[in-house]
């Protein structure tokens, strides 16, 4: 507050001085709160860091120099080797071990035409993400109208739908995946189910908030000419919310690509599993190839989705909810 020191205050009346005093008190109290908050944050942070370090398998300062080791270990035999790993070309270092068996994983479409293993795995992951986003958004679409207060008059129906969406959203994906992994054997289906179920909750909530913010005039018009509930929703609400729905669909797809990669790493197939295996086995060329592929795919998906969303909703803002 050095600016106020330079400024020479004129003589104040008693009331003015009182106001001034009051303002100073308020400012001082706010500063105290800010400092107390920051001190609390600092204490919580250092306590948490200490706790994390204590309960970790390796200690931070013991392991720090070895982080670099890991990246050094990642250096392949030559810099063309990751390319061979990526495109399943035979490696000159092939010694029969898993480390250099690049051509093993080829997925043949026809004689001589093959999809390299990691591309195939990536397609699998993308398919998991897209399909479960599709399934999830379909159910989210059906449920969102039941949860919207401007469409559904029945209180208990709205309440039930909303609670259902909340529970489904908060339920950890990993538990759903693990449960279905026990029923079906290993494979992508548990991941699809887990991601879909979570998507129903997440998108359902976003969708019904969009619906609640919709303009009700078309609905009034439809009601005036005697349309039934389905017609009112379909002709009055859906056309105005569809661009926003699509936008949320795309955002969700981005998230689901990441989620299905992670679920893949815990046994649901796809590129995540390949990555986990190659990192834990120390196959440097394969790891680099997969990380590169994953990076490119995620960037591409993000860019594509951003471009499409821009086309769908423009820079138009829509009042959005509390997130999540």
């Amino acid at each position: 507050m050095s600016a106020t020191d330079v400024y020479r205050a004129p003589a104040l009346s008693t009331e003015g001085a009182l106001v001034e005093q009051h303002w100073r008190d308020l400012a001082a109290r706010r500063r105290l709160y800010t400092i107390a908050g920051l001190v609390f944050l600092l204490l919580a942070l250092s306590g948490s860091l200490w706790f994390a370090n204590e309960t970790n398998a390796g200690k931070f300062f013991d392991r720090l120099p070895h982080i670099a080791d890991f990246f050094v270990e990642l250096k392949p035999r030559d810099w063309f080797d990751p390319v061979r790993a990526l495109f399943d070309l035979p490696s000159p270092y092939d010694d029969g071990s898993l480390k250099f068996d690049y051509p093993e994983g080829r997925v043949y479409l026809a004689q001589g035409i093959y999809i390299p293993e990691y591309f195939y795995r990536m397609i699998e992951t993308l398919n998991i993400a897209l399909f479960s986003t599709l399934v999830g958004s379909t159910f989210g679409f059906l449920l969102c109208f039941l949860a919207a207060s401007n469409i559904t008059a029945s209180r208990w129906l709205r309440f039930t739908t909303r609670r259902f969406l909340e529970i489904v959203r908060a339920f950890p994906e990993i538990v759903i995946a693990g449960f279905f992994l026990a029923i079906f054997s290993l494979g992508p289906i548990p991941a699809i189910l887990a991601v879909s179920i979570h998507t129903v909750g997440a998108l359902g909530k976003m969708f019904f908030e969009v619906v609640e913010n919709a303009d009700m005039k078309p609905d009034e018009g439809l009601r005036a000419v005697g349309a039934n509930w389905v017609e009112r929703v379909w002709f009055g609400i859906v056309p105005q919310v569809l661009p926003n729905f699509m936008s949320y669909f795309l955002l969700r797809f981005e998230i689901n690509v990441r989620a299905s990669t992670i679920l893949g790493a815990v046994g649901a197939g796809g590129i995540g599993e390949s990555l986990r295996l190659s990192i834990s086995r120390g196959h440097e060329a394969k790891t680099i190839a997969i990380v590169f592929l994953l990076f490119c795919t995620i960037v591409a998906v993000d860019q594509f989705s951003a471009w499409l969303r821009q086309r769908l909703v423009g820079r138009q803002a829509f009042a959005y909810g509390r997130g999540e």
Binding site: A3, L41, L45, S48, L49, F51, A52, N56, A57, G58, F60, R63, I67, F70, F131, L134, A170, F171, P172, I174, V175, G178, F179, L181, A182, I183, F184, G187, I189, I192, L203, M206, E209, E212, N213, N244, Y248, L251, E254, I255, R258, T261, I262, L263, A265, L275, R276, I279, S280, L294, I298, D302, V313, R315, A317, A319, Y320, G321, G323, E324
Partner: protein, 520 residues
């Protein structure tokens, strides 16, 4: 309205009536595409085959395991008596004698030579826990024969043994004698003749709740949720299901096990010391923490790790992203090089997935919360940096001009002209990420980055601990719920308002759809 008027309108608004083909058929085309894609995925993942092969009975049993547990008495036929066994780590403790297994005990005579070793073994098996508390020989097992030391003595012994037993499962029951098993469910009942070690033969046709795959083989009896049983040619195994979580507070090895709340309370407050070296309260607390079945201490520790991972990851990411965002915003730092370099750096951090960071750091730091928090830190530095810099690029320039016009230094322009505008947005974004990271930290944990995720995953992979899984899920839901509300409360306190869906006021946040993590 007549035809002319309609034609007139059509002529005046051709774009509304003669839309391009693709626009007119966009909706059915989109739906068709979705359906085709569904068929493709059905084939690609062979969903049909997997669904067919899936074991749906197992699903029911696993789901029931979430909120209930089974106790399995194992009744073996001997020549003219029965032995009753419980599984080794039975939830009933080392000496189970439940009142729903009704035993009829009689003194029987048997030849010592051939039959003695078998009951002796059975006794050993059923009293595994007796290393710790040598219990008195109980009625359900033939008491350890006095002739155990001379098993080969060819004399007859007279001793007490179970000659008939009845297992009660709610409205159903199984009455067992060495050569006859009567299974009753509701009004129906079926009698099985047992030819020992040879066959199981029902006297009447089987109802649909009993299954026998081929004549004379094991009969599978279902009592619905209450339990099930297998009638084999040498034993009857019953599973009776009980609602609830068994031994949730104290496990069977604890001295407090099986006592009512009042008894435990009075022991803690005024009882004699059970363990001379420490007070009863300390002992009880220790027993709860190290409950062998529920592992409360470990679960709570792992849960705290998950919370800490999300908290530290988000706080550190915010702290690092804060100055970098000023560097990345083109209206704050007028250097194209610096803007682009920082923005691409953010993109890099964000696009290398959290999974990859987690796997890298698990290799680096070893499994534990350090790996998880580093992964969250790296990913979210990218995401928060991007969001922060966008918020900075959207600020109102007038305040800055005003501050600059009174001759403030560049640092003070940032402090008084920029910061007040963006700080609420920054904090709000960080709080959103804190919330969403509390959830994603669970998943990250499962790949080895520590926290409750890994424990959850291990419990699920054994397929036997579904009640523990549910316990952990409830804890996670509770934590998520608390942190959601805490973050909302803080947002309201710090920002004055919380933007909910019904808030029609113009928003200060950048005009774009939600960033990815906010709908996570």
């Amino acid at each position: 309205m007549n035809a002319d008027a309609i034609n007139d309108i059509a002529a005046r608004h051709p774009e509304a009536f003669r839309r391009p083909l693709w626009k007119r058929y966009a909706a059915p085309f989109g739906v068709l595409l979705c359906i085709l894609y569904t068929f493709y995925c059905w084939w690609f993942f062979s969903i049909g085959i997997v669904l067919e092969k899936a074991n749906w009975n197992l699903a029911g049993a696993y789901l029931a395991d979430w909120v209930s547990y089974e106790i399995r008495p194992d009744i073996e036929f001997k020549d003219d008596y029965l032995t009753i066994d419980y599984s080794r780590f039975s939830k009933l403790g080392s000496n189970p004698n439940p009142d729903w297994v009704i035993k009829q005990i009689a003194v029987i005579e048997r030849r010592g030579g051939d039959a003695a070793p078998a009951p002796a073994m059975a006794t050993d098996k059923s009293s595994q826990g007796s290393f710790m508390a040598p219990g008195a020989p109980t009625a359900e097992n033939p008491a350890p024969s006095p002739d155990k030391s001379v098993p080969a003595a060819p004399k007859t012994v007279r001793e007490k043994a179970v000659v008939a037993a009845t297992v009660v499962l709610g409205s159903g029951q199984i009455a067992i004698t060495p050569d006859l098993v009567t299974v009753t469910r509701g009004a129906e009942s079926v009698i099985f003749d047992i030819a020992k070690d040879r066959s199981v033969t029902p006297r009447t046709p089987l109802p649909d709740w009993i299954e026998q795959r081929k004549p004379g083989s094991t009969a599978y009896v279902s009592f619905g949720f209450l339990g099930r049983a297998e009638v084999q040619n040498d034993e009857v195994i019953a599973w009776r299901r009980f609602f609830g979580w068994a031994n949730f507070v104290f496990d069977t090895n604890s001295p407090f096990w099986g006592k009512s709340f009042g008894e435990v309370a009075s022991l803690i407050v005024s009882g004699e010391r059970i363990d001379a070296s420490r007070s009863n309260a300390a002992l009880a607390w220790d027993n709860i923490l190290y409950n062998a079945e529920w592992q409360h201490g470990d679960v709570w520790l792992k849960l705290l790790q998950t919370i800490v991972m999300a908290f530290v990851g988000t706080v550190l990411a915010s702290i690092v992203a804060f100055p970098l965002a000023f560097l990345a915003a083109r209206n704050i730092t007028p250097s194209w090089m610096a803007n682009q370099a920082t923005k691409r750096f953010f993109d890099f951090l964000r696009s290398v997935d959290m999974l990859i960071w987690a796997l890298f750091f698990t290799r680096g730091f070893g499994p534990g919360p350090l790996a998880g928090m580093s992964a969250i830190f790296f990913t979210d530095t990218g995401t928060l940096g991007k969001l922060y810099s966008e918020a900075l690029e959207n600020i109102d320039d007038k305040q800055r001009e005003g501050i600059r016009s009174v001759g403030a230094t560049p640092a003070m322009v940032q402090r008084y002209g920029v910061l007040p505008q963006v700080l609420p947005v920054f904090l709000s974004q960080s709080l959103y990420f804190w919330e969403s990271n509390t959830r994603s930290a669970t998943i990250i944990g499962a790949v080895g980055a520590g926290g409750i995720g890994l424990k959850l995953w291990e419990a699920m992979r054994t397929n036997t601990n579904w009640a523990n899984v549910f316990y952990m899920v409830l804890l996670i839901l509770l934590v998520v719920f608390i942190f959601d509300n805490l973050s909302n409360y803080l947002r309201r306190k710090l920002m004055g308002t919380v933007g909910n869906g019904n808030d029609k006021r113009p928003q200060r946040t950048p005009t774009r759809p939600l960033p990815a993590a906010q709908i996570a």
